[in-house]
């Protein structure tokens, strides 16, 4: 590394640590990189302009909009009522309700913390009333806030596909294949946490209510407008009937018509506020994606991934050791970076290295996202810890302790996902 690029790297790292937004940090490295390579700085703008040249990206604002509108309506209440009516009779039923509802909701809203705000506020008091301990209930709603990002149509999964497709890989990484790859690993996490909840709820008489057919029917009728949505979107995507961007458009139009025009739970005058809020998240993600398209270009031109691969190969000679190192690295990464920035910054570097070790890009994507999912509530900076702390008015320290058993269980799930590639690859490949 030359003295000039070392200086730039140091300055940029300092800016990041001082709290400069990541888009500025990455943008600065891209501009400096082009400058050091003697390339006109307009190249950075040409790369950012590629945001307008990637058809799948249309899905991101549309799904996020659908998610925010759902979160603002009373759809979360109806979802909880319905899952409660259908699953509430099981031992540990309410906890499983919470997990299932959160996973479904997060898949649609992309784990932006909205699950904790919209669903956690309903589920936390309900869990406590049913007799679950305060710590268990808090831990459950906080860690469920990121459960479900492995299921279609979650935005992190789409983003991984977009980033991977920019890399010119020898293997195809279809977003439809990613959706299939995430299915079993996501279910594994759901099953493990459900088993833990059943065990926690084994002695709670009040957590068990008999199955009530009339309530189940009433809850079904209550949610009748929302019920076709997952079927439409998931059926369309998994069935290969419609393209992803069409599914996203369908979801956005459908949700707007149902919640604003038919149910009128969001006033037309209030819609712009919801819309702007949703697009602030989209903007924060896309601007980072834009500038990192530019910086990735420099990394690849400088052969950074292949050089790193050669260097790592000197230390780690087999795939399994690499996977252990990868898990440790991603866990630490997840503590510091949120999922979106981690994706756009690290995937272009990690993916070529992982392919060098014979890891399928689909499997890497699932490993990556599963690790990041835990990162959402890993101290000290897991975003969902702060959102839950704010929402439930509890000190962050309490949440650290409350989420610990969930952290251990999901870590166990991540290890299985990492070392059993078939779990991710059986369906798509």
């Amino acid at each position: 590394m030359s003295a000039a690029s070392a200086t730039v790297t140091l300055a940029v790292l300092l800016a990041a640590l001082a709290g400069a937004p990541l888009f500025a940090v990455i943008g600065a490295s891209a501009l400096a990189g082009f400058w050091l390579a003697g390339i006109d700085g307009q190249a950075a703008i040409i790369e950012i302009y590629r945001l307008a040249d990637t058809p799948v990206l249309v899905a991101i604002p549309l799904f996020t909009l659908a998610g925010y509108v759902l979160g603002e309506s009373r759809a979360p209440q109806r979802l909880v009522r319905l899952t409660d009516a259908l699953l509430g009779w099981l031992s540990g039923g309410l906890a499983i309700v919470a997990l299932a509802a959160c996973a479904l909701f997060t898949a649609f809203t992309g784990a932006s913390g909205i699950t904790i705000v919209a669903l956690g506020a309903l589920l936390y008091p309900a869990l406590k009333t049913a007799g679950y301990g305060d710590r268990f209930s808090l831990g459950l709603v906080t860690s469920s806030g990121s459960l479900g990002i492995l299921f279609a149509p979650s935005v992190p999964l789409i983003l991984y596909g977009v980033v991977a497709q920019q890399l010119d890989l020898p293997v195809r990484v279809g977003i439809d294949e990613l959706f299939l790859a995430g299915l079993l690993p996501g279910l594994l996490m759901l099953v493990i946490l459900s088993a833990y909840s059943m065990w926690q709820g084994r002695s709670l008489a009040r957590a068990r209510t008999a199955f009530d057919r009339r309530e189940a029917l009433a809850a079904l009728r209550d949610a009748a407008w929302e019920l076709p949505l997952p079927a439409l979107v998931l059926g369309g995507i998994y069935g290969g009937v419609i393209a992803l961007s069409e599914a996203a458009a369908l979801a956005a139009v459908y949700v707007l018509v149902v919640e604003v025009a038919i149910r009128r739970e969001i006033a037309l005058t209030d819609l712009p506020r919801v819309l702007v809020q949703a697009m602030q998240l989209v903007g924060a993600i896309l601007i980072i994606l834009g500038v990192s398209l530019a910086s990735t270009n420099i990394l690849i031109d400088a052969r950074v991934p292949s050089r790193l691969f050669e260097a790592i190969q000197g230390i780690i000679d087999n795939r399994w050791t690499f996977l252990i190192a990868l898990n440790v690295f991603l866990l630490v990464l997840g503590m510091m970076l949120d999922i979106f920035s981690a994706l756009v910054i690290m995937v272009p570097i990690l993916l070529p290295i992982a392919i060098g070790y014979g890891i399928d890009p689909l499997h890497l994507g699932i490993i990556f996202l599963a690790n990041m999912q835990i990162g959402y509530f890993t101290p000290p900076v897991g975003m969902n810890l702060f959102i839950a702390s704010f929402r439930f008015d509890k000190p962050v320290m309490t949440l650290y302790r409350a989420t610990l058993p969930f952290f251990a269980l999901l870590l166990f799930a991540v290890l299985i996902i990492t070392y059993v590639p078939a779990l991710s690859l059986w369906l798509p490949r």
Binding site: A15, A16, L17, A18, G19, A20, P21, L22, F23, A24, G27, A28, L31, G41, Q42, A44, I45, I46, I48, Y49, L51, A52, D53, P55, L57, V58, P61, L62, G113, I114, E246, A248, A249, L250, A252, L256, P272, L275, V276, Q277, M279, Q280, L281, V282, G283, A284, L286, I287, I288, G290, M336, L337, F340, P380, V381, M383, F386, I387, F390, V396
Partner: protein, 175 residues
Amino acid sequence: MNTGSSMAAEEGDGRALRLLHGVEDGLLVAAVAAMVGLAGLQIVLRNGFGTGIFWIEPLLRALVLWIGMLGAVSASRGGQHITIDVLTRALPPRWRLPLRAAACAFTAVVCAALAWQGARYVMLEYGFSGTAFASVPTWAVVTIIPLAFSLIGLRYALFAAIFLRGREPFRGPGE
């Protein structure tokens, strides 16, 4: 990231600022409405009538860029951009405020550089007079890049000044 309402404590009487916010939000809402409407129309045309309008697809892609950049402008208002922010959170205000001021100044400078390069690229495309879709020229689509970076940069320059005066211009998540 803070998904809640913008918690920026705007400086000054801010009538001009409110007007600017109104224009930004208006553009953003219009862009999103156009995207939802056109994407919906495309589905109806394709599946209901077996046709389509050829310029909808490239227009939707251009709208992704516009919505992304306008959303980023809107997010910068309350300092809601994604940061690492592990170091400054723990520091006492005496250290934190100047550090954050420096970080905001850094951001403003980077935005200015990107806006400058963006403006040069717009001029270049203007010279090429290429079309993005239908009869919309490419330079018009690209214009949002320097425009957005200018607006974001101005915000962060303002934040830097407020931090330097020993005040917090916005609250981060969980603070």
